[in-house]
Symmetry: C2
Subunit: 318 residues, 2 copies
């Protein structure tokens, strides 16, 4: 285990992912309460909302209100998501509380790009060019190239490493044309196709090609393999993970409603702590926030750990 | 991945584990229907019931009826559990349909032995001597030494490898006194304390000490790490796993009701197939049986995969 990182950074996406997919309605005050509780657990990066069209995503009609009402905690970065100029302008209007950075976000599966965005891959690359230019014009740094469906796709099937590398090259091409310096590469298992050997192989190949970029894994637990995949990433030295408290999020592309979403933050944190990787997170506090999230959405969340409790709590009482 | 086995054997324990813990009542016909459907998926070993005191485990009051009503499939072994002479005699009465073998079952944590069985470890070793003598007297082969709480215990905390080795030595001592030849060592993560490094370390140490015994892992997904732990075992060459369809089973020792139970058979099978390890199981058929199990118990089961569907089904349609 020589390659385990000493510590990892976590981008907590529970509020944004969760309240986007929940049938709701969920009170703005509950969203704020969850965000503020997450900030008390030691998490340092929290994605708090999505500035999207409320007709498309009614769960985020109150994005501006959530940011207005939340009390930021010192030392915590609050991020947000947007897809177009209107969304960016809403984010900029809240820039006193948010840490804004742009991504060049592409998809390794053209079938998914067509289905999800109604565009060809070439059109999506072109859209990324325009969005990058917009970010530069607005003074928002562009730091990340992300690839969705990097391990497989419900509409295409398996996705080869060559497809992922080619997609990343397209993203880096957009960055180079725009003259921006990319810091991070994000590999997303959008529909739950990753396995430990696929993670090892893809991370290895991406790192060999871009050795100076930091790799982020965005894992989904759609088929129960997310923690095993995270462990494979950790053993490859990956030190940046997206996750959601309680496993908030779901998967709109799965066979049945109620399918699991992102890897749960508390299971990721438990794994890290048990193998000696620091997260800066108070796991027992986080488990309590997972239970709060479950109470807010009003149904059982996929995280097993919030139902079982931590090991440290039992060590203490044993 | 040189040490991955070419194939694994699975002991499907869903009926026994699931119907023992479900609040029920569940109709005998439904139990039989689930067992018969499992036998059609390619699973070769199915634990169908527990012959226990119906006052203690009302869910298995109909164990004898389940075995009487089920139609065995050629090539499939049906196993059962019992804890005392009365239970063994009920199992022997159904021996035309069941494959009976005895275990020497001890616990690495004395705190758990006291809590679960109201006995000291020494008393439990003595009870195993009597049970082994009983098995020999009734002509039931004793093939297995099992250790519960082999990775940790909610009442003791961490369990050291030394404790597990010492417990196994006690078990082998009972076997040697009785003159029985043990084939398998079962390591149970009864309360969900295992992590991949702990699995690697314990399997390595047990194998070094008993190189000619086959190791079985009985993993629980109490805190979401079961699939990662199974992968760690597979990479160590472990080729025998207990599991339950849908993740049936729950954990009576967890912090909350509704905590996850055993590793789900379909997630174990998906992992194996995706990394090139054969199981002999038709995964899509098994997922359908997982959904049947969910319908029978009337609530969501922990397996994520039964809600998402398999990858092969999507590869076929992509």
């Amino acid at each position: 285990m020589a390659d385990l990182p000493a510590s990892i950074e976590i981008h907590e996406e529970g509020p944004r992912e969760g309240f986007q997919i929940e049938p709701g309605p969920i009170a703005t005050a509950d969203k704020v309460r969850l965000i503020e509780a997450l900030a008390e657990t030691g998490l340092k990066r929290i994605q708090v909302c999505s500035f999207v069209n409320p007709r498309v995503v009614p769960g985020w009609a109150d994005a501006d209100d959530v940011v207005a009402q939340m009390k930021p905690k010192d030392g915590v970065s609050y991020t947000a998501l947007w897809f177009n100029e209107k969304g960016l302008d809403r984010a900029l209007a809240a820039a006193d509380k948010l840490t804004l950075y742009g991504s060049i976000s592409l998809t390794a599966s053209e079938a998914f790009t067509r289905r999800n965005l109604n565009r060809s891959h070439a059109e999506q690359v072109e859209a990324s060019r325009r969005q990058t230019a917009l970010h530069i014009a607005r003074g928002v740094p562009v730091k990340r190239v992300g690839v969705m469906a990097a391990f497989g796709c419900n509409y295409q099937g398996d996705v080869s490493r060559e497809q992922v590398i080619a997609t990343l090259q397209d993203g880096f091409g957009v960055a180079a044309e725009a003259g921006v310096e990319i810091e991070r590469i994000s590999l997303s298992d959008t529909m739950g196709w990753a396995t430990p050997p696929r993670v090892e192989a893809l991370v290895g190949e991406v790192r060999a090609k871009w050795p100076d970029k930091r790799i982020t894994l965005h894992l989904h637990d759609t088929r129960g393999l997310a923690v095993a995949n995270a462990y494979a990433g950790l053993k490859m030295g990956v030190d940046f993970f997206d996750s959601t408290v309680g496993g908030l999020g779901g998967c709109p592309f799965a066979g049945q409603k109620g399918a699991a979403g992102n890897i749960s933050t508390e299971e990721l944190v438990l794994l890290c702590h048990e193998i000696g990787v620091e997260t800066g997170v108070d796991l027992d506090a986080l488990i309590e926030v997972g239970r709060m999230a479950e109470a807010i959405v009003g149904h059982t969340l996929p995280s097993e750990l919030i139902h079982a409790g931590s090991l440290d709590a039992l060590r203490g009482s044993a």
